[in-house]
């Protein structure tokens, strides 16, 4: 995996250099966005509702016991927006969208469709990679906003209806508002933007370098998902570290 990082960086660089054509590809980007939204929005919301809920469930009773019920909102709110929403959504999108991108581009490689593009002087990076990376880098941060909000809501619901916590909506959200600032939300959105570039570039790279037949496509899909997730989790640490310095 790591020997390909150079190639991926090259692909990333070439994609950036071609970013000027993004506007020309807006129809393809819109199609991709629609696909991503369609495949993931509901799933993202359900997932984060439960993540927020489980956070409250794990921390709530313990804090209540120590008389700290008032800080639950802040804890759930902060962990959701700075860490869990960006990372969980990135993993979800790597699994749902990154895999599909690698499969689609991989089969185009195997069935010579990319060769055909090249003979027509159509740059596969312009035609295939730029619209996908652009779409995912819009979609993932947008999904993360939904995820943060539903995650907060999930926490609030558990706090309100769990007998061991019994914290009102108002108590929960008042604390959340005090603790979580706009900067923290932006922090999470920024992280998800970086993750989206990782997913887009890793998946397109895997697709483009597919060799062999259907098994090759399968291999590419697996590698796209696994490599994206590994890179996201590793980079998450360093990204968090540097963002903490900035604060």
């Amino acid at each position: 995996m790591f020997q390909n990082i150079g190639e991926m960086l090259t692909l990333f660089w070439r994609t950036l250099k071609s970013a000027g054509i993004t506007w020309r590809q807006r129809r393809k980007i819109a199609d991709q966005l629609f696909d991503i939204g369609n495949a993931s929005l509901l799933m993202a919301c359900i997932l984060s509702l439960f993540i927020g809920g489980v956070l409250a469930l794990q921390t709530g009773p313990m804090l209540v016991e120590r008389g700290l019920a008032s800080v639950i909102g802040g804890i759930v709110g902060m962990s959701m927006c700075k860490e869990l929403a960006p990372v969980m959504m990135a993993i979800l999108i790597a699994g749902r969208i990154g895999s599909a991108m690698a499969a689609e581009i991989g089969s185009m490689r195997v069935y010579q469709e990319i060769d055909a593009l090249q003979t027509m002087n159509i740059n596969p990076i312009h035609y295939l990679v730029v619209p996908r990376v652009a779409a995912i880098s819009i979609a993932l941060p947008a999904l993360v906003i939904f995820a943060i909000l539903t995650g907060w809501l999930g926490g609030a619901l558990v706090c309100a209806f769990n007998n061991e916590i019994s914290l009102s909506f108002q108590g929960y959200f008042n604390n959340l508002k005090d603790v979580v600032g706009m900067g923290d939300v932006l922090n999470g959105i920024f992280k998800s933007f970086v993750f989206s570039l990782i997913i887009g570039v890793v998946s397109c790279h895997q697709g483009l370098t597919t060799i062999g037949g259907p098994r090759g496509i399968g291999r590419s899909v697996t590698k796209a998902v696994v490599n994206s997730i590994v890179l996201i989790l590793i980079l998450d640490y360093f990204l968090t570290r540097s963002l903490l310095y900035l604060e």
Binding site: S107, M108, Y111, Q112, E113, D115, T119, M120, N121, I122
Partner: protein, 253 residues
């Protein structure tokens, strides 16, 4: 995206020189010193046994494969040099058709014009309809490639190549999946395109009717080398046992 010259192509016929081309895949030698000269405006057929490297040769000519050694020249200039391939309008009909499965037939045929923004959409629609009619597929613009038969895909691929109005066109088995009548139509189109635009055509085929019917010269590739080049009549009269055996293969019942 590269600038594509839209000037009248008739005056810019393209000559192809292949010099000492060698290529191996994982130690298995496929091309072992291919030398060929295709003159501007010529229709040149290449025949040879299955697996002898004909498709690999075509991929080298259009820049999809890089040679281990040797060179290919377009009008005396190496295609390895910067921008040499982009300078010319090239087209290839793939053996497997290689249509884009995510696009409709019409979008496939018009792809070159729409991606390079050479014509307004209404004009593209007109040209696509015209080229589809040429290969006997009028009205199929809205179909998905997966809904077509093998031979129909091949014809769409030919239409897609015709739209480019290339200076050099490479056909890899253009008639392998077509019925005899359709094969004749395709042969006529190959001739007509040359008359109209003086395109240079290189044609790989197992179809002897097509090879001998339309080409100016024929070459035979065997075990990675060109063992014969000449006019169709010369090839038929060649004494070379490999060629005779290949051309006269029959059932002996």
């Amino acid at each position: 995206m590269n600038e594509i010259s839209t000037t009248e192509t008739k005056t810019h016929a393209l000559g192809v020189d292949i010099q000492g081309l060698q290529k191996s895949f994982n130690g298995h030698v496929v091309l072992n010193g291919i030398n060929l000269t295709v003159k501007p405006g010529e229709i040149f057929a290449i025949i040879g046994p299955s697996g002898s490297g004909k498709s690999v040769l075509l991929k080298h000519i259009i820049g999809l494969e890089k040679p281990d050694s040797g060179d290919i020249l377009f009008n005396h200039r190496s295609i390895q040099s910067e921008g040499a391939l982009e300078k010319y309008r090239l087209a290839m009909v793939f053996q497997s058709s290689a249509l884009l499965n995510s696009l409709t037939v019409g979008e496939n045929v018009g792809l070159f014009l729409s991606e390079h923004r050479l014509k307004p959409p209404s004009e593209i629609r007109r040209i696509v309809a015209e080229k589809l009619a040429v290969v006997g597929l009028e009205g199929l613009e809205g179909r998905a490639p997966s809904e077509l038969s093998g031979g129909m895909k091949k014809r769409v691929a030919i239409a897609r190549a015709l739209v480019i109005e290339p200076q050099l066109i490479l056909y890899d088995e253009p008639t392998s999946e077509l019925d005899p009548l359709m094969a004749v139509t395709v042969g006529h189109e190959i001739l007509k395109l040359r008359r109209k635009t003086n395109v240079t055509s290189i044609l790989v085929t197992h179809d002897q009717h097509l090879a001998f019917g339309v080409s100016d010269r024929v070459a035979m590739i065997h075990e990675g080398k060109i063992i014969f080049t000449g006019e169709p009549a010369q090839m038929k009269n060649s004494e070379n046992p490999v060629i005779q055996k290949f051309l006269n293969a029959k059932f002996n019942s």
